[in-house]
Amino acid sequence: MQIEKKPLIVAFCCNWCSYAGADLAGTNRLNYPANVKIIRVPCSCRVNPLFILKAFQRGADGVIICGCHPGDCHYTTGNYYARRRITLLFSMLSYLGIEKNRVRLEWVSAAEGAKFAATMQSFAEEIAELGECKRLEDLRCKK
C-alpha cells in the first residue's frame, strides 16, 4: 500500500531540556518530519545502549539522543556520563561497519525549539539519504 517506506527515527529526549525543546518546537508550530518519534526519558544518562540497539532491531533507521547542554543537566552531571557512554557506543558501531550517521547525539535546551526542529529535519534528511538500515536489522521484525 505504501509506495515508499519512510525511514523511522527514534529520538530519546531528556525530560527537562530536549523534551521541553520539542514541546517548544510544537508551541511555535515548527514543522519537522512525522517519522521522528520521541521517547521521553528523565535524562540523557538514562539511555541505555541496549535501547538504541533495540530500536534498530525493531526497524528504526536512525536513532538520535537529545539531552541538556553539557553543564545544564537538570541532574547536574547526567549528560556528561551520557556523552562518554554514547561516544564509545557510536565509535563501536562505526567500528563494526555500521554507518556513522545512523546515530546522533545533540544537546537541545528547553529554549531551543527551533534547534530541535532543525536538528530533526536535518537528521531525517540524513537518514533518508542512508535509506533503510540493513546493517543492524532483524529481518523478523520487518515482515
Binding site: 545502549p49 553539557p70 557506543l89 562505526s94 563494526l96
Partner: protein
C-alpha cells in the same frame, strides 16, 4: 620453576595458611592443562606450570565464599590485572586471597598449531624461540611467536600488579603496540569493516565461552540470561543478535576490561573478540587519557567518570 611453585603451595596448604589452591593440572597430553582446585598437599602432585597454562585463574575466585578460609591462587602477570579489577569491584575479598605471582614468557596455543595444519599433536618442546612439536605424522619445528596465544603475542605487561609472594622476578610493562589490529580495522572503509565483522561474528555459536571465561563478566545474572531484561536469548537467531551480543558483551566490560585476552583464547570459533575490547580500550585512551584497568585497585573507571571537556560523540564522525 614448577617445583618451586609447587613447594610454596605445599607449604601454604600444609601450614593451613590456605585451605585451597587454584592452579593448573596436567591432563591427557602436553597441552591438556586445566585449571583445577587443590585441597591437599598430595593432590598437588598433579600441579603443573608450563607453557600451556594460558587460562586466567582470577575468575574462579569470584565464586569463593570470601570469608573464613583463605584461597591461594597462582597468577601470571596479566592475570593480576584482572584480580585487581575484581577487588576494585568488590567481587573478590582481598583478605581471603593469597596471590602467588609466577613469571610468564608467553603461553602457547595448540589451536594455533592446528590452524597451521599441524595435527595429531603428541609432544612439544620449547627451546628459546623455537618450538618442536611431535605429531602422529612427524615432527615440526615452529617459531614460538607463531604459536603464542594471541593475547601473549601482544602482551601489555609482564609486571605483577598485585601479589603476596613472587616466584621468580616480576617484569615490566611492555611496549608492544597492541592496538595494531584495531588500527588496521580503523583504517579500512566502513564497508570493509562491515564485511570483516560479518565474517567473524557470523561464526558465533553463542556458546558463552567468551562471557563465562571473562574475569570482568561476573554478573550475578547476565542480562542475556535474564528473561526480564528483554534481551535474553540462547542463540543468535540472525546477524542482529550476533552483533548485539558482542557489542553489549564488549560494552559492559568497557573501562573494566584489563585486556587479558581470555575471550579470544576460549572462542571455539576463533573470533578475534579482543579486537572489540581493545577498540574500547583504545578509544578510552584516545578520548579520555590513558587508562589501564586493573593497574591498581582504586582508580575510577572511565565510564563512571567524566570531565567537562570530554569530546562530543561527533568525534566518531570526524575522526576515524
Amino acid at each position: 620453576m614448577q617445583e618451586m611453585i609447587k613447594s610454596k603451595l605445599a607449604e601454604l596448604l600444609s601450614t593451613g595458611a590456605v585451605t585451597k589452591v587454584i592452579g593448573w593440572k596436567r591432563g591427557e597430553n602436553f597441552y591438556d592443562v586445566s585449571p583445577a582446585a587443590f585441597e591437599s598437599v598430595e593432590s598437588l602432585a598433579d600441579f603443573v606450570y608450563d607453557d600451556f597454562c594460558g587460562a586466567n585463574l582470577s575468575k574462579f575466585l569470584v565464586k569463593e565464599p570470601g570469608k573464613e578460609s583463605k584461597v591461594a591462587v597462582v597468577l601470571k602477570p596479566c592475570d593480576t590485572f584482572s584480580l585487581n579489577q575484581l577487588i576494585k569491584e568488590n567481587r573478590v575479598n582481598r583478605e581471603n586471597i593469597f596471590v602467588l605471582g609466577v613469571p610468564c614468557e608467553g603461553k602457547l596455543s595448540e589451536e594455533k598449531m592446528r590452524v597451521m595444519g599441524i595435527v595429531g599433536l603428541t609432544g612439544c618442546k620449547v627451546e628459546g624461540d623455537k618450538v618442536t612439536v611431535e605429531t602422529l605424522y612427524g615432527t615440526e619445528t615452529l617459531d614460538k611467536n607463531d604459536v603464542l596465544l594471541t593475547k601473549c603475542a601482544t602482551c601489555h605487561s609482564k609486571k605483577h600488579v598485585i601479589f603476596d609472594e613472587l616466584i621468580g622476578e616480576t617484569g615490566e610493562d611492555s611496549d608492544v603496540d597492541r592496538f595494531v589490529g584495531v588500527a588496521e580495522l580503523e583504517a579500512m572503509s566502513e564497508d570493509e569493516r562491515y564485511e570483516f565483522w560479518r565474517n567473524e561474528l557470523s561464526r558465533c555459536i553463542r556458546c558463552n565461552a567468551c562471557r563465562n571465561a571473562c574475569p570482568a563478566c561476573t554478573c550475578e545474572k547476565c542480562v542475556f540470561d535474564n528473561d526480564a531484561s528483554g534481551v535474553a536469548a540462547k542463540s543468535n537467531a540472525n546477524s542482529f543478535e550476533e552483533n548485539m551480543f558482542h557489542i553489549i558483551r564488549a560494552y559492559h566490560v568497557a573501562g573494566r576490561c584489563t585486556d587479558c585476552g581470555e575471550c579470544s583464547r576460549v572462542c571455539p570459533q576463533h573470533i578475534p573478540l579482543h579486537l572489540l575490547n581493545r577498540k574500547f580500550i583504545k578509544d578510552i585512551n584516545t578520548f579520555y587519557g590513558d587508562f589501564q584497568a586493573g593497574a591498581d585497585a582504586e582508580s575510577e573507571h572511565p565510564l563512571v567518570h567524566f570531565t567537562e571537556n570530554d569530546p562530543e560523540p561527533s568525534i566518531v564522525k570526524e575522526g576515524k
